[in-house]
Symmetry: C2
Subunit: 183 residues, 2 copies
């Protein structure tokens, strides 16, 4: 089995992978799925509090490599027969390194400029709404503090999502096809 990790800053367009996954019938696992699965495994009902507590507990148990450890378990338990599994929401280089040590993993990073991402996320074309801009920068900062900058810089594939959306989806699909060996 080969894992395909999708990463990118907020608003870069990572969700485009969902449509491609459907088209090529490839399972998508999000880090959130893993936490919910772990919550259920502990016999707790799924509600925001339990899921939140499980996330904290996983980080206590596995340190910087959480949620990679339960993620790999989850994939192996549930999707052992799949040739490819997409993992959404990878943002820590520790998680990447852990998974790469135990499985085959290719990382696709999606890049858009901060200006473009801000416009997408805020639905506006003006950077002078400083409150929104600060919120945007803080959100970026949180992701970067998880070491997503390292994941992006060391990505196996980089797809730029800056101009025409269909061009981007096309580039992403071509990258995707390279990984899953479809011509």
């Amino acid at each position: 089995m080969k894992l395909i990790g999708i990463t990118g800053m907020p608003g870069s367009g990572k969700s485009a992978i969902t449509k491609l996954a459907e088209k090529y019938k490839i399972v998508v696992v999000s880090m959130g799925d893993v936490v919910r699965y772990e919550t259920l495994k502990q016999g707790m009902p799924l509600n925001p509090e339990n899921v939140g507590n499980t996330a904290v507990k996983l980080r206590e148990i596995y340190g910087k490599e959480a949620i990679a450890v339960p993620c790999l378990n989850y994939v192996n338990e549930k999707y052992n027969n799949e040739d490819f599994v997409i993992i959404e929401g990878i943002r820590s280089i520790y998680e990447v390194n852990y998974i790469k040590k135990h499985a085959e993993l290719d990382i696709i990073a999606i890049h858009s400029s901060p200006k473009t991402r801000f416009e997408r996320l805020s639905g506006r074309n003006r950077e002078d709404d400083s409150n929104d801009w600060n919120t945007f920068v803080e959100r970026d900062e949180r992701e970067l503090n998880f070491s997503i900058g390292r994941v992006i810089s060391l990505a196996d594939y980089m797809v730029v999502n800056e101009g025409n959306y269909m061009d981007f989806v096309n580039d992403l699909e071509n990258t995707f096809k390279k990984i899953i060996n479809v011509n």
Copy 2:
């Protein structure tokens, strides 16, 4: 004046900017130029020891924002009449933030996968020469510790250098022309 900063992991192909700079007659300033200039300003002859000591001293004086502070001074003193100046070798987000606060700066990041960069730098096609691979990873690590991952992830433009070299140079030139408003 607008500054154009070039960043990218080792072996990504940053030096391609030199030819473009010549073609469009745009000055290129490297962080090394700045340190040499500061060395001379202090009346010291240019030798590796003096240049090294100056770099250390600049970091002591300006902290994380070195070498951005003397770099901006250098550009303003020497190239005040230029419309555009390229700055090579930006690798710290603190330097980027400092320069953006005081001048107009667009960052172009160049991305190649670790595998491709390793092959370029080692001139080999095998990752199993573990000694070389470790050296490569350590060099990456040093750059990432300077926060180059943040500079890359927050770049205004991303150019991928993965396949055909002329395609890459072409993409880089198109990006470059967008910034300097040439059609």
